[in-house]
């Protein structure tokens, strides 16, 4: 029996997004406590992050969110072909973000700045906390980015096939919502880690 409830599906997605925010909320809480306990060390450690790469990644993610939103409008107007192109662009942005992150993390690991390294052990506790939270938060964010990428790939295939169309696009909307969540979390991570120096 066909049971369809788009509003219900979106309600479910919103609640799920809520839980994701709370998941990160625990980390933001720890960040806030550590920041107030070790403000100078956080200040010094933040200088080691490359704000330029961070800014590029922010722009890349914002652009990807815009194209997801546009793809929904495209599908609503019946232009599936354009929607596929827009979604593909989103996935390219996700890939670009990952490449950027690879170089950023790779550089840090190369100079020996990672949890458990000899260099980390020699740093003050506040700095260790900063870099640990940096890896933990951006790592968890990246995991969500990969999951979001997989969801959008599935959605893109369905748009291509036409199973997502102008009359039925709640899956695309939910995928888009999830992608915006990934974006939103980055929007908070970026200033907390890169800009407050």
């Amino acid at each position: 029996m066909e049971h369809r409830d788009d509003i219900g599906a979106k309600l479910g997605m919103w609640i799920f997004i809520f839980t994701e925010i709370l998941l990160f909320g625990g980390l933001f809480l720890v960040y806030a406590i550590m920041r107030s306990n070790y403000s100078t060390e956080f200040h010094q450690a933040a200088h080691h992050l490359n704000a330029f790469i961070g800014t590029i990644n922010t722009i890349v993610l914002l652009a990807s969110s815009a194209t997801v939103a546009m793809s929904i409008t495209a599908v609503q107007k019946g232009n599936n072909k354009l929607a596929v192109i827009l979604l593909f662009f989103t996935l390219l942005c996700a890939a670009a973000f990952m490449v950027n992150k690879y170089f950023e993390w790779g550089h840090k690991i190369h100079i020996g700045l990672y949890p458990g390294s000899d260099l980390m052990v020699s740093l003050s506790h506040g700095q260790v906390m900063f870099f640990s939270l940096y890896y933990f938060m951006t790592g968890l964010h990246m995991f969500h980015l990969v999951v979001g990428g997989i969801i959008l790939t599935i959605v893109m295939i369905k748009v291509q096939k036409g199973t997502i169309n102008a009359g039925r696009f709640v899956l695309l909307e939910n995928g888009g919502l999830y992608w915006h969540l990934v974006d939103l979390i980055w929007i908070f991570l970026f200033p907390l880690l890169y800009l407050i120096t």
């Binding site: 029996m1 049971h3 409830d5 509003i7 219900g8 599906a9 309600l11 479910g12 609640i15 799920f16 809520f18 839980t19 994701e20 709370l22 998941l23 990160f24 909320g25 625990g26 980390l27 809480l29 720890v30 406590i33 949890p115 458990g116 506790h125 260790v128 906390m129 640990s132 933990f136 968890l140």
Partner: protein
Amino acid sequence: MTEQTTHHPEPSYLVDTGKYKGLMAWLTSTDHKRIGLMYMYAMMVFFAVGVLLGVVMRMELFWPGQQFYGPQMYNGIFTIHGIIMIFTVVIPGLAAVFGNFSMPIMIGAKDVAFPRLNLFSFYLYVLGAAIALSSQFMGNGPPDTGWTFYAPYSIQTHTNVVAAVFGAFVLGFSSILTGLNFIVTMHRMRAPGMTFFKMPLFPWSLYATAWIQVLATPIVGITLLMIIAERWLRIGFFDPSLGGDPVLYQHLFWIYSHPAVYIMILPAMGVITEIIPTFAQKKVFGYKAIAISSLAIALVGYFVWAHHMYTSGMSTTARWVFSLLTFLVAVPSAIKVFNWVTTMYKGSISMKPPMLFAIGFIFLFMIGGMTGLSLGALATNVHVHDTAYVVAHFHYIVFGGVGFAFFAAIYYWYPKMYGRMYNFKMANWSFVFLFSGFNLLYFPQFIIGMMGMPRRYFDYLPQFTFGHQLSFFGGILLVIGFIIMLITLFSKKGAKAPDNPWGGRTFEWRIASPPTLENFEVMPEMGPDEQPYDYK
């Protein structure tokens, strides 16, 4: 009173109609009733294992000193007893079993909002339980931290903590998805005419529960991940030898784990609220007060977590604020108790087994609740913190409360689930053994706890011997009661159950026993003057 059993042309949900037969038909079914039963079978197995571990602990404590095994094994046993009972039995508990089986029917729906997600939650539950149990057999031996995984010990012990913690994380994820599913179901799928304030009160309690599941569980999820990260990478979030803060762990842990107590008890209260008006044949007293008190418990219960930490090092201000909030959360719980009692007043009470268990619940829950207040008060807490008194208190809530409500719910909905009745006399005997065994097991723990018996200790001073021995015999009675109950329910087929054996008014009693796959032949509606508990 009891309506005639009519003939139903559609086969019941127990008959396989899909492409699979037998076990596969169950394992692939997205039907909410079958998923509810699968949860129930899984939980009964876990519960039996947990009970057995409890008995093994009581055996060791029968005399002071070492009897059968050493302290390390004792630590491992109370840890896995806690993990199994908390994470795989009482937290999913009534919501997963009866929430799945009864709630969609009670609101007049054919299924939950996301049936496939529902089945996925079940498999996550099985997976999480399997991972948690695998901790016993892999790595450096069973974890010995207690189910709370307190830092720094959980960071430093060489036992297999990571598997247990990750299992708990997966179980939490399953719980989130069930909660999400229920919220959407209750928002979107109520029968026409059934406004929120005409919804039966068991769904209401599940609604409040679901919000706690969704709001609180992610916090423990991230905290458990931090424990794993700290063990692997020696980060220093929580372990003071790495510069971390163990009190921070306790905060993060209890931000979830105290609301989790309400995840356990709220559906239990909901079940009792269904049973009492049915067996008193009287409209529930203070419908709105009960509905709103569920939400109030969920809301206030979110802000009382630090009452587990009075002795851990907090400011005096924080301590009295948390103490005050703890006293406040007792108010909506008391409202419910008063409403149950008032519902029974001048009702035509029939003491069938579900009602017997419901009244037993009220008695045990009152003791559990009142002793909770003495623990929530700062001065007495410092005296009895981490003693057997605490063990007795929370067993009165999670076993005397949730457990007895679970038994009541089985006896209440069993005719609907299987379309069969059971032997009332046997069921009453199971109550006698369970109730007396329970009190004999846990009440002495209050007394020896007050005298200074610490919890989680392998050995004890001779003056506590008598109390521990009473507890052991109580445990044996409890096991006998449990076995009688299983025999009553599952040994042989009872007489065919009518559609409405108890004279209930909610939707599930207006359909066939057992229900058809789609529950309703004609989708139910609620008239403008109709109320969920319209007894004469």
